[in-house]
Symmetry: C2
Subunit: 226 residues, 2 copies
Amino acid sequence: MHEKVLKAVPFVNWLNGMKKTKLNLNEVFVQSVDMFGPKVGFIKFKTVVTDVDGDSRPVVVFMRGGSVAILVVLVCKGKEYGVLVRQDSVPTTQPLFPAIPAGMLDGNGNFGGVAAKELEEETGIKIHASELVDLIELAYPDGKYEGMYVSVGGTDEFIRLYYVRKEVSEEVLKDLEGKETGLAAENEKIVLKVMPLENLWSYTSDSKTLSALCLYQNLKKMAKII
Amino acid sequence: MHEKVLKAVPFVNWLNGMKKTKLNLNEVFVQSVDMFGPKVGFIKFKTVVTDVDGDSRPVVVFMRGGSVAILVVLVCKGKEYGVLVRQDSVPTTQPLFPAIPAGMLDGNGNFGGVAAKELEEETGIKIHASELVDLIELAYPDGKYEGMYVSVGGTDEFIRLYYVRKEVSEEVLKDLEGKETGLAAENEKIVLKVMPLENLWSYTSDSKTLSALCLYQNLKKMAKII
């Protein structure tokens, strides 16, 4: 287990990242590791860091690496629609909680490819990775941030946010609404929701949906995206 | 420890929340508990749920309860400024990562009071809880959501987002910029950043900052806030 943690991509990235800070790492105490089959899924650990003033403090980290999420804008007869996937969230006890399509990264750096694959799995919408607009790179150029950070005090999780725009027919739009999708093998049950883009923010309090909308609206205002 | 977990507010809320869903809880295996002094801080557990179709799946939960965050808009000579607190984030290895002021809830439901206290601790800005505009209640009326959910697949964490607007003099604005704050007792070191509100989204990829801005901008568009 020890070996697997030391080789897990998020942990390796974290150790390298810590070396670039002015903080000193005194110890790392791994409290639990959740395996996803043969792969390391989540690592939970405690650490103690010392800053340049010599002051120490404990930090607890829930390590789960990166993910991707896609703001899909469908255009039908000149009107814009957003696409949400609804699924039960056990941690928040929210039944069929709506959020933009998303999925975990498995360690490799091919963000766009993973995003296109997740989008097809969760919604059936097929796109090529090259059609995706990288909102993170546009908003934070030169790799300033890897993604949107969900909760910087407790987890390494970052979400690479994408945007894709597609003209669709009324039939396609109708077929998507209420459609049931998800990976049967993982007992992942999803119901699609299609709604006017302008109402998306008032329909869900999901961080990736609101953050993607914020970047989309502000980048649009600056004419950096269509 | 067992007793303390069963009495912890986030865990009690979660058990009650699960009873309202159609999911069946088969087991809860607590993997680790982080104490903050005498109080339960974080609980990490695994559970297996069965849905109405009889299909089961494992879920891992990093339980940390709720927090509050405040979008502070300072108005000086007709121009709007946003306030960010910058502090080292060990989980993401981001030095002096900027985000709107925030703090954890300690279990009680007095969100506004905690928000006002955290704002003063982190920035020195004194406000009364009654001055806070509850963006969550405005965007999701009738208690639809407790807050913005940071990562619904892995944690119960929700952030109650607030907004406060204050006219200030040039002196106050100048004093805030670069000021060092934070609770010495917790070795919490914070540097303030004051910047034009319109640029806030491009300065940080923090979920609570982007989500609060999204709600603020859209509620403003609908004339629900000033």
